[in-house]
């Protein structure tokens, strides 16, 4: 029987789904502690409305179709930030700025099939709308760091850059779009020899060539800013360096400088990004687990000009990068399976209710089977204990599934709250 899923989308079974829940809830609690309030944008948008907030990059990746009931073209958002920008710009515009908003949801994106990339992406993120300036950007980076610490990440780096820095270099060059893209790709890959090859055929001065060849090396700690200042002298790039310097200064006060790496040869991010961009990486995992940056022009596309900055986690990447850490944190086994052999189910129902009210997770084994089969089930389905109720006996047997160890407990002990597992 054919039961496969469409390419690039997945089911999450209990162990992974519990980890996903843990990540969503933990991130949500950090957002809340920083004063961010939830929004839940619609699952569908009119394509023409959504596209106001999308650059070419995301437009090409958007799932779109005819709405049979209205005849309009509709779309599934490939990104939640433009939706939050629309909500801020339209339904919240009469409220005082800034807005601190957070969300949690799934987006769909067409991606290169041959790379086996996910098309369904679980996102969890925040948007800080109405604030310009380095403190707002630093707040985003500090929150990303707090979030990563809260979910149990130990070795991680936030790579920061600024779109105008590289743009300042490239805009001065007599290159067409294709040449410019080639050069950018080689710089981003830090592929110096490849970049040298590419530059040979291009109509550049020695100075321009030197600037471009310096870019892949502009990666590292605070000293990278000074190195960059010496090599790259156009005003736009210098201004970008000044901004990054100010953000770094705020991050030092937060005490999280150790997690920050400057990456000035990078111009990732979406078309809507302006100013600071950043990505978070866990050691040993090549994909970014979070990404964000400033997007000052986005809400204006919905008729309400406001500076803004934000970031989002890719929860699937985060889950995989932290898989082992989450084995312990997101333990979702059930505490107790109740087995009663008699016909009268009332004592078991009552006991289950008492245990649940004490915070335990409890299921009753209401299938017809013997105690050995019930214990086997409990073991295989990750129950911690089997509790065996004998009809007309005050004492019950508590069996630990991990090793079969037996203890006697009484319903009186459970009822009086003395029971602990």
């Amino acid at each position: 029987m054919e039961t496969r899923l469409p390419t690039g989308v997945k089911d999450f079974l209990p162990v992974k789904a519990a980890k996903l829940d843990y990540l969503q809830n933990t991130l949500r609690s950090i957002y809340h502690s920083w004063g961010f309030r939830p929004v839940a944008p619609a699952i569908l948008e009119d394509l023409s409305v959504l596209e106001l907030g999308l650059g070419t990059d995301l437009r090409e990746k958007t799932f779109r179709f005819d709405d049979r009931q209205t005849g309009r073209l509709v779309a599934f958002p490939p990104d939640i930030t433009p939706q939050v920008a629309r909500i801020a710009a339209t339904r919240m515009r009469d409220m005082p700025l800034p807005f601190r908003l957070c969300y949690n949801g799934r987006v769909l994106r067409h991606t290169e099939q041959q790379l086996g990339k996910d098309r369904q992406i679980y996102q969890s993120g925040v948007e800080l709308i109405g604030l310009s300036g380095p403190e707002a950007d630093a707040e985003m980076i500090a929150m990303a760091v707090m979030c990563l610490q809260a979910v149990g990440a130990s070795g991680f780096t936030i790579d920061i850059g600024q779109v105008e820095f590289l743009r300042g270099v490239l805009d001065d060059l007599p290159l067409d779009a294709a040449q410019s893209r080639d050069v950018r790709t080689a710089i981003a890959a830090k592929d110096i020899s490849g970049l040298q090859q590419k530059l040979k055929g291009l109509p550049l001065t020695d100075r321009q060539r030197d600037e471009l060849l310096a870019l892949p090396r502009l990666y590292g700690g605070h000293e990278t800013l000074d190195q960059a200042r010496q090599v790259i002298t156009n005003p736009a790039s210098q201004k970008a360096l000044d901004n990054l310097e100010r953000i770094l200064k705020v991050l030092t006060v937060y005490g999280i400088e150790e997690h920050i790496t400057l990456d000035l040869g990078e111009m990732r991010g979406f078309d809507y990004h302006s100013g600071l961009i950043f990505q978070g990486f866990l050691s040993g995992f090549g994909q970014a687990v979070c990404a964000g940056g400033r997007y000052d022009g986005l809400t204006e596309r919905y008729g309400f000009a406001a500076p803004a900055t934000g970031f989002a986690f890719n929860l699937y990447n985060l889950l995989f990068a932290l898989d082992r850490v989450l084995d312990e944190r997101a333990e979702e086994g059930t505490d107790i399976l109740l087995f009663s052999s008699g016909q009268d189910k009332a004592p078991a129902q009552h006991l289950a209710a008492v245990l649940r009210s004490q915070g335990y997770s409890v299921a009753r084994d209401i299938i017809e089977r013997d105690q050995a089969a019930s214990l086997d089930y409990a073991r295989r389905m990750h129950y911690r204990y089997l509790l065996v109720i004998e009809p007309a006996e005050e004492e019950m047997i508590l069996i630990r599934t991990a090793d079969g160890e037996n203890t006697c407990v009484t319903s009186a002990a459970i009822g009086s709250g003395q029971f602990r597992i």
Copy 2:
């Protein structure tokens, strides 16, 4: 500027989104306490695979489109139960039964436009797969009751019925599909005079007519079962009554009989339902907030025969029915807005971190404005307090936004954990 959403879908702004979060988290914790573990089915399905699990009713409501990257017809699930059935039947089939699974997600359904119905539905539900018998069905009803109590519902009713009861009556009659549907609609609406009119033109015996006219009245408490037994005598209906009797008996042990109403003239539910069906209603709200029932044939359509039962909440209906109750329970205002007038932001950053570590939600007002403007912002954006830090002063002023009341606090008091708001 055109910024409208497609018909039947909505954004949730902070106040409502916080209520939605509260409902999702509270229900999830009840599911967990009953031993249910989460699954997160894919956002998209191949249409042909999904349709295995859908009856005509849901097939007609399914959003479908061509997947541009694969050329296959794909669909957005109109219901999560068939997805969980697929997962149980394929990816979990080697695990021991029963499966206790829960989920939380959004579905899309085409609906009658003229009624202004939602097409985007937030669902939260559970599936108990691998168990037949009244105890499993009673567990679903008992859980629905616990869930409603946990989210703060006071007056509510669970209407229960069984698809075979009405089917037993209708299958015996010489009616075509359209006539049968007409009769069913009048019975469901408890429209006795309309039903009398409809029956006049139909080729029925007096006894058949009497049975049909009795159905709308078969609504009420336990005594309804005896009334039904006297009027409706076909074996299928009698068997359904026996099953309902057994379920009611278990519900009496749970002590939740007071919430149960029998509704034997009702045959709602989806095409996949067999056996018990039920719906939950809050007093004063006409839409069902939850619905469920037995669906013994569904997993078999994915190659794995197993009895099953389950239910789901419609979170949007639940939110609206409980809107006022949730005003208090899902309070999502932020505790403190920090205002510091000086240039040195370090003390405010540090203080914010300390307060967050104590469980408070805290934002810093990093926009340039004076204290009066900051207080006005705090008030309008539902902060409970404004905390004013004066440079080089040990004492700070805490202003309650509700009434402007001032208190002095010191950072030493906050640092030592003596601070309480």
